[in-house]
């Protein structure tokens, strides 16, 4: 469904004087991967290794330095604006930062309804139907009707994150990019959201591109996983293989660093008054 071929992305360096420019920063270095329809693809890796940059490339918010990205066989760099707009209705994203990604001047209702308005030619609805859909979505992610006309600043981190998820689901996309979608949720709400995503996948055949630092979550929700380190893909394959038999040194290190919820296994347990 999605094919990423030898993608590199270099951010230009600081300008130095009138003509000079510092060396650029290579955020992605020859990355190739494939996402299968109806499956969940997990991307894990070091903080600052290029995960968010890759999602921005998929959405054409950044231009590639080299390589190409194919969606159902079509090179997204060559899509005409009208075609790209149609694609954007099928391809939604939950942004990483729940604080920066919600417009502070819009009510929750308008934020979640926005994609329905933008894509009204594709999903025609009366404004009444839109409000009903928004309400249905809010309930699905564990928010309530009384939240409809509040503004983002009145919500906690985890509540904002769920608003972002509701917005991404609004137009019933077929492909969902989730950039750390549960990082601000307590584990019980996280379980509900993961189960909701799983159910939607079973019912509607959604495809997920899931970025998370929580390896337990990746193991739970994903079929395949890729590990990225300093812009390079170091390992990829079925979740069971990578978690049981990692071949890469960095992957092994990550797996070992997973914090165990058993206090007796803490490396620091000798500290403080304990």
């Amino acid at each position: 469904m999605l094919e990423i071929n030898n993608v590199s992305k270099i951010f230009p360096g600081q300008r130095k004087g009138l003509f000079g420019q510092a060396e650029g920063f290579k955020a992605l270095d020859d990355v190739s991967l494939r996402v299968t329809r109806g499956k969940s693809f997990g991307l894990v890796g070091e903080s600052g290794s290029g995960k968010t940059t890759l999602t921005r490339c998929i959405l054409k918010l950044e231009t590639l330095t080299s390589g190409n990205i194919l969606y159902e066989g079509a090179d997204i760099a060559r899509l005409a604006p009208a075609e790209m707009r149609r694609l954007r209705a099928r391809l939604q994203i939950v942004f990483q930062d729940p604080y920066a990604s919600l417009d502070p001047r819009m009510t929750i209702h308008d934020i979640v309804a926005e994609p329905l308005v933008i894509h009204r030619d594709i999903v025609p609805m009366t404004s009444r139907q839109r409000t009903e859909r928004v309400l249905e979505l809010l309930l699905q992610v564990g928010l309530r009707a009384e939240h409809l006309f509040r503004y983002p600043h009145e919500f906690s981190g985890g509540q904002r994150q769920r608003i972002g998820i509701a917005r991404a689901l609004a137009v019933k996309p077929e492909f969902l990019i989730l950039d750390e979608p549960t990082s601000a949720l307590d584990v019980s709400v996280q379980a509900d959201v993961l189960n909701l995503l799983h159910r939607l996948q079973e019912e509607l055949g959604l495809t997920y591109f899931f970025i998370s630092h929580d390896l337990g979550v990746i193991r739970y929700i994903c079929d395949d996983v890729a590990v990225i380190y300093r812009g390079k893909l170091v390992e990829s394959g079925p979740v069971a293989d990578i978690f049981e038999r990692p071949t890469n040194e960095y992957t092994r290190m990550l797996l070992n660093a997973m914090p165990d919820p058993d206090p007796d296994r803490s490396p620091f347990r000798t500290v403080a008054s304990v």
Partner: protein, 294 residues
């Protein structure tokens, strides 16, 4: 003297439809040398509790119905704004859950770190490694050095170069680490960390936990760490409090609470963590264990 003593804190927030009580009698003591974890439901009032300690809830929206927050014996809810400014960033360090409250998009990362270091250095030059009464030239030089050092300590590669970047040139986790660096520069006596490692991979996370742990060991400070990650609590915290709908349901030593939780909510939380053997779709969540309290 107790470092932080929150007594019967009751807070209500005003919004469009009226006033809702959010905190219902929070009691919490943090002594020096203790690392308290605060876990619990999203929206239960953890961040508002943390913000209250630095008195950062705008008086126009928040109202304290009852209670006090004593920092080294002084009630911060009654302190003047000038006194609070001297405490914030110096005696009370805060890592915000919302990075936008503390990172200004139009200034370089370095400028912002140096500002914080200077603010702390003016109050107490020793935090920058200087003698009391150091000249402002020395302060400026030391502030720059400390800013790079801190950025390096939180694991930003090539810190001396990247200090010239703007916030949008940093990844989510890198921005979060800038906030951690900012909160630690002033060598606070109390560190309030609201979800400090959510955007970090596990190995950088371990590095940050070590940093916090060492700060406690070296300077005998107290920490209040708000997090959803029970693994993090198990690793670094000495104590933990479990919040639900504006109340603390259960508290105690981490070794007790996480190993033998006495409240069903805590048990449900522990059961909600996916393990290597959980099949997809079978994670339980709360599953109705909490009767509606409202």
């Amino acid at each position: 003297m107790t470092l932080l003593d929150i007594k019967n804190l009751n807070l209500s927030m005003r919004s469009f439809e009226g006033e809702t009580q959010i905190l219902h009698g929070i009691d919490l003591k943090v002594e020096r040398g203790e690392i308290w974890g605060m876990v619990g439901e999203t929206g239960s009032g953890k961040s508002l509790t943390g913000l209250s300690v630095s008195r950062l809830i705008p008086p126009a929206t928040g109202r304290y119905l009852a209670g006090s927050i004593e920092f080294e014996g002084r009630d911060v809810l009654k302190a003047g704004e000038k006194e609070m400014r001297a405490l914030r960033g110096r005696k009370i360090g805060m890592i915000f859950q919302d990075p936008t409250t503390n990172l200004n998009p139009v200034f370089r990362i370095g400028t912002q770190l140096v500002d914080v270091a200077l603010h702390a250095g003016h109050a107490d030059p020793t935090v920058l490694g200087l003698e009391p009464g150091a000249s402002s030239r020395d302060l400026k030089k030391a502030a720059k050095r400390v800013a790079v050092e801190m950025l390096d300590k939180v694991g930003i590669p090539k810190a001396a170069e990247r200090i010239h970047d703007y916030p949008h040139q940093f990844s989510g986790g890198m921005r979060q680490r800038v906030l951690i660096a900012m909160a630690m520069i002033g060598k606070p006596d109390l560190l309030i960390a609201d979800e400090p490692t959510t955007a970090l991979d596990v190995s950088v996370q371990a590095q940050i936990l070590k940093l916090i742990h060492d700060l406690v060991a070296e300077r005998n400070i107290g920490v209040l760490m708000i997090t959803h990650n029970l693994g993090v609590v198990a690793q670094i915290c000495s104590h933990v409090a479990v919040m639900y709908r504006g109340r603390i349901l259960e508290r105690g030593l981490v070794t007790d609470v996480l190993k033998k939780p006495s409240h069903v909510y805590t048990q449900a939380l522990l059961n909600s963590i996916p393990t290597a053997h959980t099949k997809r779709g079978e994670l339980r969540g709360l599953g109705g264990v909490m009767p509606e309290v409202q």
